[in-house]
């Protein structure tokens, strides 16, 4: 039992954080939202050149072949930066699905171009909506027990405006007779989809933690600077206790997320339970962080001009994504036989 990260894992996360600080600043995010463009090409290229787009892909294809416990810290950084690009959908969900397919060799060129960033992938398994579908070249879609790979030319998109306008959601339609099925109904596809969902829960949980931590950090800084009644508002016990509770929620969710990431690859018999628990606690933490950070800021955080709103909205949507607290509790109860 050794519950700590290796230096190279920490260094890669740190490098990702640095890159995001530069290429995914609040200004860049706001510009992206206002331009209503489908992607942030510079940011995407930075991900590609760092190897982030191929974190899960096999080395033979040019990927980094990382396991979940290797890249969970990267997911946390995505949340911390409120990164609008669907990196998880592309790198953590779609690429492994494609690599695990029976006819994997047919998709080698797609995989290679996905890893180097030329092509973009996204995915929908249980959701009706696809994140970043308008920038994707291929979508992986699971419907009626079949896994489809659909090229953008064959898809009709309908934008579903989200409260988080940096999150581009779409309904998708395509002609299901057009030979898009890449895996038929089988035990294999079911288990593939199951593991991918768990991976999505854990990676989304890590993003929630990153969002929550950023909300907390920004709020701590603000309440140190903002003065009312001649003192920083942070001297008030009510503020202190709101933020202490938020810190606690993050502090106790985080190891559960790391543990779930580890469990996914290690044949831990509790991997499924661990993933559900991680997302439950991470959703709770980010819910609380949204609530307390807005409240401790007051009116200023209630405007589009102040950057906190970026994380508030991301927290709001990620908290529900891949299982909100109610759905997670149901899943956990099932695992425990309750």
């Amino acid at each position: 039992m050794k519950f700590s990260f290796k230096d190279e894992q920490l260094l890669f996360a740190e490098a990702t954080r640095e890159m995001l600080r530069k290429d995914c600043s609040p200004e860049a995010i706001n510009e992206f939202v206002e331009s209503d463009s489908a992607a942030m090409p510079e940011l995407w290229n930075s991900f590609a050149s760092m190897g982030v787009l191929g974190i899960t892909a096999s080395e033979t294809l040019g990927g980094l072949e990382m396991l979940d416990q290797d890249f969970v810290l990267i997911m946390e950084e995505l949340g911390r930066a409120a990164c609008p690009e669907p990196v998880m959908e592309h790198a953590v969900l779609s690429i492994p699905l494609l690599e695990e397919c029976n006819n994997k060799s047919k998709y080698t060129s797609i995989l290679k171009s996905a890893i180097n960033g030329e092509h973009r992938l996204s995915v929908a398994l249980e959701s009706q909506y696809v994140v970043g579908a308008d920038s994707a070249d291929y979508l992986l879609l699971f419907r009626d027990s079949l896994l489809h790979l659909v090229a953008k030319e064959s898809i009709v998109l309908q934008r579903q405006a989200s409260v988080d306008s940096s999150r581009r959601l779409f309904s998708v339609k395509w002609d299901t007779n057009s030979g898009t099925v890449i895996e038929g109904d089988s035990d294999k596809v079911r288990s593939l989809i199951e593991i991918t969902k768990l991976r999505a829960e854990v990676s989304t949980a890590a993003q929630c933690i990153g969002v929550a931590q950023q909300l907390l950090d920004m709020t701590v800084q603000y309440v140190q600077e903002r003065k009312q009644f001649g003192k920083p508002v942070g001297v008030n016990q009510a503020i202190k206790h709101h933020l202490a509770d938020t810190g606690k929620a993050i502090e106790f969710a985080r190891p559960m997320v790391y543990r779930a990431a580890w469990s996914l690859n290690k044949g831990d018999t509790e991997a499924e339970l661990a993933a559900h628990m991680a997302k439950l606690l991470a959703s709770k933490a980010v819910d609380l962080a949204c609530k307390t950070s807005l409240q401790c800021h007051g009116a200023i955080a209630y405007t589009l001009e102040y950057d906190l709103q970026i994380w508030l909205k991301r927290g709001l949507t990620l908290s529900s994504s891949w299982g909100d607290i109610y759905r997670q509790r149901e899943k956990i109860a099932d695992c425990l036989g309750l």
Partner: protein
């Protein structure tokens, strides 16, 4: 104790119910904080006024119908149940109006109340400043007397409805040497005054519901002073107690929302019988709390009608409705699951995305009208009697 409504009250309720269902607009208007929506909602103020339903609890001479407090509460219930448009002049009618009744001269009441009631003059609130939020008494905007005018310099922020309002009610420092609560005055400022510059500021939902207001040698006639010069804090406290007490948030608003939540649940459980059961409990709690707010207010209304006054315990009300509003909307979003995040314009958005926009609006509740932390302090110190220091 008699909790049945009497014949007059019932007749009154039936009248407004009938009128509003006959007269409410059928089309969905632009949000009231857009320029288009602002003017659309102004026409609705006129329609209400002409039928005598803009300010039913006001005296007849100002456009009301002198109804009782209980009747007004029934009016609010019917109003919100009907789904009629929001009131764009709430800042005027619910906040400045009662303050004018207490502090205005006869001339001021005659001058301002009818145009407030008919929507000719829509009001914004100009209190907070960049460095003065919870600590309002630290405000720095000054108004220096110069003959028959005050000359205002300074900056106000987070002025709700400030982008297009016709008038703004402000608290300013008329004695530049004064500190804290002394030396403040309450001024009514025309929105088109020279030297008044507005910069619309977008709220979380993207609508320019706020404005920053800059005063650069802005001249306002002394007849627009409400209450005495230097008495601004006392006048402001009248407005603040309206913000916390019954005027701003009658139960009707939350009863209607709770009813819609129950309906939404019925639909959701039909669509998905496996909806997590905890959601039903949340709906129950939200419904019960809306009822609790209703009966609390009926009890307070009786007390007021029997000659009592509402003091610091108004802060209990503000705490309660602001939390209730969030509870109702948060429950709906949980229920809608992945549809919850969709907003107006999304084809799949339930109820045109009103649950999310209502949630975003509700999130401001614990902040505006005095943060809930301040309200808890007030309750603890002035209702329960805990020591200040």
């Amino acid at each position: 104790m008699d909790l049945f409504f009497d014949a007059n009250q019932t007749a009154f309720r039936d009248e407004i119910r009938h009128w509003i269902n006959e007269n409410k607009p059928n089309d969905r208007w632009a949000p009231m904080d857009t320029q288009l929506g602002f003017e659309q909602h102004r026409t609705w103020e006129r329609t209400l006024f002409e039928a005598g339903w803009s300010v039913p609890n006001w005296p007849k001479k100002y456009g009301g119908r002198d109804c009782s407090l209980i009747e007004w509460l029934l009016y609010e219930e019917e109003y919100y149940l009907s789904g009629a448009p929001g009131r764009v002049n709430t800042n005027g009618i619910s906040l400045l109006g009662p303050t004018l009744f207490s502090w205005g001269t006869e001339e001021q009441k005659d001058r301002f109340l009818p145009k407030m009631a008919n929507g000719d003059e829509i009001w914004a609130q100009g209190w907070s400043e960049p460095d003065s939020g919870s600590d309002l008494a630290s405000l720095k905007t000054v108004a220096v007397r110069d003959g028959d005018h005050y000359v205002i310099n300074g900056q106000k922020t987070w002025c709700s409805r400030g982008a297009w309002a016709d008038w703004i009610f402000c608290i300013v420092r008329t004695d530049p040497t004064s500190e804290r609560h002394a030396g403040l005055s309450y001024l009514l400022v025309p929105g088109n005054s020279p030297g008044l510059i507005r910069r619309p500021v977008s709220r979380l939902d993207g609508e320019p519901a706020f404005a920053e207001i800059f005063f650069d040698d802005c001249r306002v006639h002394v007849e627009n002073l409400l209450g005495d010069e230097g008495a601004g804090w006392s006048v402001a406290m009248a407005t603040a107690s309206s913000e916390r007490g019954l005027n701003l948030r009658a139960p009707g608003r939350f009863l209607a929302a709770a009813n819609r939540l129950v309906q939404l649940y019925m639909k959701a459980i039909e669509r998905n019988p496996l909806l997590p059961s905890a959601i039903r409990d949340q709906v129950v709690d939200a419904y019960v709390n809306a009822q609790a707010y209703r009966y609390q207010v009926f009890q307070k209304a009786t007390m007021l009608m029997e000659g009592g006054t509402l003091g610091a315990e108004a802060s209990y009300m503000k705490l309660f409705w602001s939390e209730l509003d969030i509870e109702i909307h948060a429950s709906a979003l949980r229920m809608l699951s992945e549809q919850g995040e969709l907003v107006e314009g999304a084809p799949d958005a339930e109820d045109s995305g009103n649950w999310m926009s209502g949630y975003l609006f509700a999130l401001a509740g614990p902040i505006y009208a005095g943060t809930n932390e301040i309200q808890r302090n007030i309750v603890a110190e002035r209702v329960l009697g805990l020591p200040r220091k």
